[in-house]
């Protein structure tokens, strides 16, 4: 049955769909390894892509091995896989993002726009509490914070899930673009000072890829009529 594509209609993803979504997201980040390596080599030490590959490979393996009964487990397993296997700053930070998203949350078995927004908002807060970075410090926060802001606005405006993800993805990419103008306050790039200007941040690049692939995947679900309606 066709449902009108209008704002205000509650669509959601099931637990199974969220698992497939993050397997897809992980594959997209792994595919971007050469790009991430190149970006990180310019102002870091070139291992961001390698780390993200290690983290998502383990996460995908884990998601495929276990019985996933709720969305909380999916986030927790991705986060734990990253924290336990990646090392470096990105292991803790990306891992914290996923773990903090579902920390102390009741069982979640459907991912609506409001729920997704609530999760990434908590994830952002968790990363900021641990890493202490603010917008403008040339880190993953520069892509993550505008995406979260866009999602919050979309919830306020009762927007459709796919449209909200599109705006979030666009805002993440815009935030990523803006990291090119910034001096780094954290990590190896910090010692470059002004010389970091002109180069985009590797962590923000990964965040942008994650949001872009979430949007693509959910968009595809909608096109195939697989998005669920309340």
């Amino acid at each position: 049955m066709m449902v009108a594509e209008t704002d205000g209609v509650q669509t959601y993803l099931s637990t199974k769909q969220v698992k497939d979504l993050y397997i897809y997201v992980g594959q997209k980040v792994i595919e971007a390894k050469p790009t991430l390596t190149e970006i990180d080599s310019a102002i870091g030490d070139g291992d961001h892509g390698i780390g993200m590959e290690v983290g998502f490979k383990k996460a995908i393996q884990q998601l495929n091995e276990i019985e996933v009964e709720d969305i909380n487990t999916i986030y927790k397993e991705i986060g734990k896989a990253m924290i336990s296997n990646m090392g470096g700053a990105s292991g803790v930070l990306f891992g914290t993002f996923f773990v903090a998203s579902v920390k102390n949350k009741p069982v979640i078995d459907k991912l609506t726009l409001a729920t997704f927004t609530h999760l990434v908002q908590s994830g952002l807060e968790g990363v900021q509490a641990r890493g202490k970075a603010k917008v403008g410090d040339k880190t993953m926060i520069d892509a993550l914070a505008p995406a979260v802001e866009a999602l919050n606005a979309a919830v306020e405006q009762n927007k459709d899930l796919v449209k909200a993800l599109q705006v979030a993805s666009e805002q993440a990419e815009l935030g990523l673009e803006q990291t090119k103008q910034l001096v780094a306050k954290f990590g190896r790039a910090k010692s470059l000072g002004e010389r970091a200007i002109g180069h985009q941040d590797a962590g923000a690049t990964t965040i942008s890829i994650i949001f872009k692939s979430i949007f693509d995947y959910v968009c595809n679900l909608k096109t195939n009529g697989e998005l669920l309606y309340e």
Binding site: G46, D47, S84, G87, G88, A89, V92, G131, R188, L192
Partner: protein
């Protein structure tokens, strides 16, 4: 870049296996992690160090009697995971707590701090001393932002000696912090290193150029100049340290002339000759000197100079014997 390796993904695992194959009588690997600890640690405060790989013999080479009790190591130039730090911590704690001593890098701080939180959940008390000896990496006002380089060696030596004296965790941390506060280093790079996983050089530098103050992962330094003689270079490097730490006539220092990987002992001795000369001209007495490659950067060529200013307390702990396959001090005093 030619390296004697198998699969780039396995370099750290295989290095640890090789270390244990050589020194397994006294050391063991912590199961499922790249952590190395001494066997039979006495019941007292434990000292744990760690960081990325690629700086050998740091960090595993500083695990030993009168030194660190364990090292948590990560991939090449990448911090160890919180899990590695936690497992090393759990293996070594005997109820008196664990001191973490490592270089001030954001990745290491994040991972060790997270491990400290996890250790707390297991009722293990930890404290941290960050080594930030590299004067080239931030101004004196922002010294808290500075990187840790070869100064780790002195801090770990003092921490291990203080722990062996059966002091409390607070006391071991206080004395180790003092050692870190009294230590300054500066390095110079002549050629880059290459990371096994990327197979690429970490930076580019002309054949006749050097970079003063470059970090041990190829972080930019303070000045790029034409190659200088060893004497000119040594004098320039020491000036940065003298500008940063007050040293007066009759002060006593420990000196470490540290090779970054491919610079030969011959060159390090030539540098040390000039260090000794300059310090003597200033009336600063050298209590002890080390000329070795302890804190390296794979095959990077270059050298760092570290001075630790002594007081009676630091000297007392520096005098304690220490022994590992890569660091040895006879007890004295």
């Amino acid at each position: 870049m030619k390296k004697v390796i198998n699969n780039p993904e396995n370099v750290v695992n295989e290095m640890v296996e090789g270390f244990i194959a050589a020194f397994g009588n006294d050391y063991k690997k912590v199961q499922d992690t790249n952590g190395v600890i001494i066997k039979n640690k006495p019941k007292r405060v434990a000292v744990v160090t760690g960081g990325g790989s690629g700086h050998e013999p740091l960090f595993i080479g500083m695990v030993g009697e009168g030194l660190a009790d364990g090292a948590a190591i990560g991939n090449v130039f990448a911090a160890p995971t919180p899990n590695t730090v936690l497992e090393v911590t759990k293996e070594l704690d005997s109820g008196q707590g664990v001191l973490y001593v490592y270089g001030n890098y954001s990745g290491d701080v994040l991972n060790f701090d997270m491990a400290a939180e996890l250790a707390e959940l297991e009722d293990i008390t930890t404290k941290t001393v960050l080594v930030n000896d590299d004067v080239a990496s931030a101004t004196k006002e922002n010294a808290f932002d500075r990187r840790g380089i070869a100064g780790d060696i002195f801090a770990i030596k003092i921490a291990g000696a203080a722990a062996n004296d059966n002091l409390t965790l607070e006391e071991v941390a206080r004395i180790t912090q003092k050692a870190a506060d009294h230590t300054r280093s500066i390095g110079v790079a002549l050629s880059p290193s290459s990371i096994p996983s990327t197979g690429k050089y970490t930076f580019e530098i002309a054949d006749d150029e050097i970079e003063l103050g470059m970090g041990i992962h190829g972080e930019p330094g303070v000045k790029r100049t034409k190659l200088q003689t060893a004497d000119e270079l040594t004098a320039n490097m020491l000036d940065y340290i003298f500008d940063d730490i007050e040293l007066q006539e009759n002060d006593e220092v420990c000196v470490l002339v540290n090779g970054l990987g491919s610079t030969t002992l011959m060159e390090l001795f030539i540098v040390n000759r000039k260090v000794a000369k300059i310090l003597s001209e200033k009336g600063i007495s050298i209590y002890d000197t080390d000329v070795n490659s302890y804190c390296t950067t794979l095959e990077m060529a270059g050298v760092s100079i570290t001075l630790m200013k002594l007081d009676d307390e630091l000297k007392k702990y520096y005098n304690k014997p220490a022994n590992s396959p890569y660091y040895f001090k006879k007890g004295r005093g």
